[in-house]
């Protein structure tokens, strides 16, 4: 009787590019594990959320009720995770986010059965705010999509950035998201800010960077972004020759260049197998499987004793690709955040490398609202 893991991500629509990366990382993790946690067989069942909360909830329901999985992991999008949360927790199964980090689930809605191998939304932009302060940026223009994560991101940077916010644009998001930012870029330029902070995940990120270059803003308005320039957008930007992105700065809790054995194995094997760098989405998914495997091994494959299982998970006793971390009271990682820079690697491939550590063992701001101890 194998232990079953449901993995929910986006496999169709344009956002499937992220989902595919996660799927690849999960498969790699299973390969590295030999399909086993100790003596217990592991089985992964993928579910497609179609980039929509209702569909995500439905596929989660199916995994929980029909396939009777023991864990449900994955989730790129905050709203999909929020929608699906109750289905998993009500059935007393373990829910593990490999990306989405909505503030509610770190705070008020925290749960003993919910873990994360990523972060809380605000943390990454907070780190960026810190970087801006250190670099002496005095005024900043903000751009993000007009949805909850977008607002979390701008709130995050505003929380730590001490200079002046001279303007902010929240652009249309959703099924017919705005991808042409000409008007906003013109405004940002006219505002005379020292820097431009943006958050545009998925395909919007690539679109944004291109227009940033086409508008010729590199010199006058340096770009600082989170979740925008990544291993998913860089290959496309490189193939289309958008060189302005080289040197741009982003913050993240993980990077392919992090120097630990697990990460080296992960990055090398991933590149060998799929021909490109993994993204942080992949890294977090890889960690999610490894976390599950570590816990399953600890309890000897016995899924009936939930308390023991939760305790085993909480120890985070596995080799994470981001290096060692612990879980906070809300079961979110307490971890480092790094400043990364876009560079060309030895083979001429565009990637990122760590420049400095911004936060060490950072605890998210909502942990206090969680009443778990």
């Amino acid at each position: 009787e194998p232990v079953k893991i449901g993995f929910v991500t986006t496999l169709t629509t344009g956002a499937a590019v992220i989902g595919t990366d996660m799927q690849n990382a999960v498969n790699l993790a299973m390969e590295h594990l030999g399909g086993k946690a100790g003596d217990t067989e592991l089985e992964v069942i993928f579910g497609d959320d179609q980039f929509a909360p209702e569909a995500g909830k439905q596929v989660t329901d199916k995994l929980v009720k029909q396939d009777d999985v023991d864990f449900v992991a994955g989730y790129i999008w905050s709203h999909v995770l929020l929608a699906s949360r109750k289905s998993v927790l009500d059935a007393d199964k373990i829910l593990i986010s490999a990306n989405a980090g909505p503030s509610q689930m770190a705070g008020k809605l925290c749960d003993k059965n919910f873990f994360s191998t990523s972060w809380q939304n605000d943390q990454t932009p907070m780190a960026m705010g810190e970087v801006l302060n250190r670099q002496g940026v005095k005024s900043l223009y903000l751009m993000a999509p007009n949805y909850a994560a977008g607002k979390d991101m701008t709130a995050g940077v505003e929380r730590t950035f001490t200079g002046e916010i001279v303007g902010k644009d929240l652009t249309k998001w959703g099924a017919d998201a705005q991808l042409d930012f000409s008007a906003e870029l013109a405004k940002a330029k006219a505002s005379g800010a020292d820097g431009l902070f943006v958050f545009y995940p998925g395909a919007a990120g690539g679109a944004f960077v291109k227009q940033y270059q086409q508008a010729g803003l590199k010199e006058t308005l340096p770009l600082y972004s989170v979740f925008t320039v990544d291993a998913i957008s860089l290959p496309k930007l490189q193939s289309a020759g958008f060189t302005d992105v080289i040197g741009s700065k982003v913050t993240q809790e993980w990077d392919p260049s992090l120097d630990n054995a697990a990460n080296k194995k992960f990055v090398t094997d991933f590149k060998a197998k799929f021909g490109h760098y993994p993204s942080y989405y992949g890294a977090q998914s890889y960690d999610a499987i490894m976390l599950i495997a570590s816990a399953v091994e600890k309890v000897g494959g016995d899924m009936s004793d939930k308390d023991a299982l939760r305790a085993a998970l909480k120890e985070a006793d596995f080799e994470s690709v981001r290096g060692d971390f612990t879980f906070g009271n809300n079961n979110l990682p307490v971890q480092n955040f790094y400043l990364r820079e876009v560079v060309e690697d030895a083979d001429g491939v565009w990637t990122t490398k760590v420049v400095e550590t911004v936060y060490e063992n950072h605890v998210d701001s909502f942990a206090a609202e969680c009443d778990m101890k």
Partner: protein
Amino acid sequence: MTTRGWITLAVMALLGVLPPLFFLTGNPFYLDLATRLVILAIAAVSLNLILGYGGLVSFGHAAFVGLGAYAVGIPAHHWLYTGWGDWATMGYVQLPLAVLACAVFALLTGLVCLRTKGVYFIMITMAFAQMIYYLIVSIEEYGGDDGLVIDTRSQFAWIDLDNPLQLFGLAYVSLIVSMVLVRLIVNSRFGMVLQGAKGNPDRMATLGFNVYVFRLVAYVISGAMAGYAGALLGNFTTFISPEMMDWSRSGELMFMVILGGASTTVGPVLGAVVFIVLEEVLSHFTIYWHLPFGLLLMAVVLFVRGGLAGMFGRKED
């Protein structure tokens, strides 16, 4: 009884018996699937009243469903976070609120929409739905784009909606009531005028009917019914988001009606069944299930006239 009548009975009987059987034999997921199906079928039945019988193609019907769901979610949200009394979670408050809110919304938008005809009507109903969509997205208090989690289902004295069987039962009975209601309405004097106005509005006006008012009333009834379906849907998913009001959702409701057969009693239900079951079955085999699904839709349009119900007997049921 006509073939169509037998089909209707058979579909409704299967729909009433199979899902509980699934549940009792350890397949609770299929009960969930059926509950969702039945709730969407109510919305489709309500749309059929104006689209099928009234000839008013509303491309914004999902807005009513969404509003109905928010009418459950918002009081529940305030009960949880801002200390509203227990009355806010009462089904006797939430369901009528959903119906009323949608009726008012239908009345206000209908006043404007019904001035237009044909494709212009299709687009203006969609425009109002989009406005509501963006309005909800912009209200951070209720989760904006992330949506709203309903922690507590509507409370009733005589039924426990947390029990999936009872929730299904309520939805199923509601579906039957709504089908009967629509059937009564379209065969009533009011319904005759509505159908006459679909066929020939000028003639109806010269006969002395104020077509605009009749249509408005039908639009309000239909919106209110869809709001009720939305309230059930909110209780079922326990999660509501603006996504529920997206134009593509309105499109799906339309497809259910056309696919099953507009202006027939069983059509919308048949459409909902086929739509949801196909979606489930096809997506089981491949993530590329949109391909066979799209081909099937095209095949139905190209080769079957009058929707699936059109395969069984003529238009009159």
